[in-house]
Symmetry: C2
């Protein structure tokens, strides 16, 4: 049976002050599986964090749980966060944020006398490959959908597409034109906080300074006093994308690279060059997809979720969801942070051998009054075990 792993530290995210923070997925998964939770509030969201924590504290009292089952701490991550990760009673860590901070937590946890798992979600460019038939049949529709996906929430989704690949021809040129027109029309909007906005501008400037980068589209800049970020797209070719590691780094905000390949083989080379991603997307007709078997196999190795003819920004909370992926998308490719399987982050198996039924955890007792699915003599079953058997 899967049992609680022990006290869990959750780091509030900068970009998701609700769903990936104090009362977000990791806290829900850890509490649901029977673990106490200590949340380190993100320094940019102290008020939101307190409001959510207060609601959880009231729920803890109302449910008759021990008060220690949930705590919220404020303070600098490199002091408060690190101390929590190194505490001998801590058993697991959930984090969503930058690659630098996530890796530092992972390293601190791995260096403990007793190493513990760190589920850090760090960065993803969510590549989108648009194949020739799809470009020919519905390039303008894809351009419109892509614009929405790149600029949704001012580009502050971890699943925002930041790399868009196509093989050069007249249809891909038309697509770029349509995408540029759509993107230019996006109104500027306020980003989550000034830190994200400043980082967006800094990384944009670095990208624009690359001699291989060509401007494709820039929306009207917003009001600098309102920490607004405008939508931007740059063009580059595959050899330059492979040569410049900066192009493979996440730019958090409403930005995308459009990467042009000479041919299909160069698209596959571009896919093989990808680091680990949360998602990878292919747009194609049935004919396109039949010819893209090798590309799909590469993308399955690179990403935790592979989409066909969709956009990655929507993340459904469901049993089939995987929100995770190979490093550096996350530090543990074996687990998801969204969907019912997220519960598996904070459990460990325990085998109870020859226990009298009454000493077993309730779900393992013979009677099975809740009709849980259990494996009995190798077969899945919701049945009770008859007395005396």
């Amino acid at each position: 049976m899967l049992r609680p792993i022990g006290p869990v530290i959750v780091f509030g995210a900068s970009n998701f002050p609700l769903a990936f923070s104090v009362g977000g997925g990791d806290t829900a998964s850890a509490l649901a599986t029977g673990n106490p939770v200590v949340v380190k509030a993100h320094e940019r969201h102290p008020g939101t964090s307190e409001l959510v924590a207060e609601a959880i504290r009231r729920a803890v009292v109302a449910s008759g749980l021990p008060a220690g089952v949930f705590s919220l701490l404020h303070g600098p991550g490199h002091i408060v966060g690190r101390t929590l990760v190194q505490h001998p009673l801590t058993r697991a860590v959930g984090f969503t944020g930058s690659r630098t901070a996530g890796r530092a937590l992972f390293d601190a946890a791995a260096a403990r006398p007793e190493p513990i798992p760190v589920f850090a979600e760090m960065s993803s460019l969510n590549p989108v490959f648009i194949l020739p038939g799809a470009l020919r049949e519905r390039g303008a529709t894809i351009a419109a959908g892509l614009t929405n996906s790149v600029t949704l929430g001012v580009g502050q989704f971890c699943t925002k597409p930041g790399l868009v690949f196509g093989a050069e021809n007249a249809d891909f040129a038309s697509f770029r034109g349509a995408f540029a027109e759509k993107l230019k029309a996006v109104a500027p909007a306020t980003m989550l906080h000034s830190g994200i906005c400043a980082s967006y501008r800094k990384l944009l400037s670095r990208a624009e300074a690359l001699s291989a980068a060509k401007p494709l589209a820039r929306a009207n800049p917003g009001d600098p006093t309102k920490t607004q970020g405008e939508a931007v797209a740059l063009e580059i070719d595959v050899p330059s994308y492979i040569k410049h590691p900066e192009v493979a780094e996440e730019i958090f905000g409403p930005f995308a690279w459009i990467v042009t390949a000479r041919d299909f083989a160069e698209l596959e080379a571009a896919a093989e060059h990808l680091e680990g991603q949360l998602t990878a997307t292919v747009h194609g007709t049935p004919d396109d997809l039949r010819q893209a078997a090798a590309l799909l196999r590469i993308l399955e190795r690179k990403a935790g979720r592979v989409l066909i003819n969709g956009f990655p920004t929507g993340v459904e909370v469901s049993p089939a969801m995987n929100h995770g992926g190979p490093y550096p998308a996350t530090t543990d490719v074996r687990f998801t942070s969204v969907g019912t399987a997220a519960l598996l982050r904070f459990v460990r198996p325990v085998c109870y051998q020859d226990f009298p039924s009454e000493l077993l955890p309730e779900p393992l007792r013979n009677a099975n009054p809740r009709g849980l699915w259990r494996t009995i003599d190798g077969k899945l079953s919701q049945a009770a075990i008859p007395a005396g058997s």
Copy 2:
């Protein structure tokens, strides 16, 4: 769906040249889940390793698999093994052996640019708690069973009980006497290799040199030219066990500490002091067990498998088995090396969103010709999905 994690490195074990080595559990789990395997042969078992590898190579050819799906390498662990763990294409590592070597592999894997999971099984003392009612009712029977468990395979099982706890009274004294008599009668036997035997003698000498340790039993020593190990037991009290960390270190061979508590509270303190274990065992009558609820809760946190009125040396390969445990029993408390769940070591989830059925992996396609259990709209089902739905 769970998919292969990628190339797996398996380290052959010193103590299990078959079940935990070239063709052992990790190799079987990795191959069964679709991963290529590279085995690093244990230096003490080069011939056995080659014989097993040759059988696997023939099976690879007979099955029409690519030759690269399985390889065996020989050489020093700190050179060949480390190089394999650091190779950029390596995706997971399985190891059974010493705490020092296991931790070194874990650290090397965690320090990689892309960290990878290491499943190292390192050490376990498999504590056994014998409660007063059980001592009174069947102390001699438990002594006989314990002797078998301590000396099975010359004490070279990772599940050998090395720490036996009881609260002092006349029944526990009788038990110790019976256990000593049984142990003294055990014939010496040849250990797996001279390295294990030399290490056994060295750790025995260190244990015997502790001033708090009292000799309890020593069987006839064997023939030193045959690398034989004789059964030995020492006595110590709980405060001394807590004071001397050496007592909590595994002595690989037919040896056990008998640890005497003043009372039940001291038994619980001894349990709380335990490091992570593969197994923990309690012998008790129904009355004993009702009073041992707190002890059982402590042991569940300390061990991957908890047994009542049995001995831990038998490890059944079954869906219910968990052969794993908190550090330092293993480096990853979330996974087992034995039983059907061992397959989970070498897989990662992938979500296929909006794939046409024919592009999905076969188990996810609508028709489900093999009647696999799948989750459809939140419900477990072996049914096919009707066309057009």
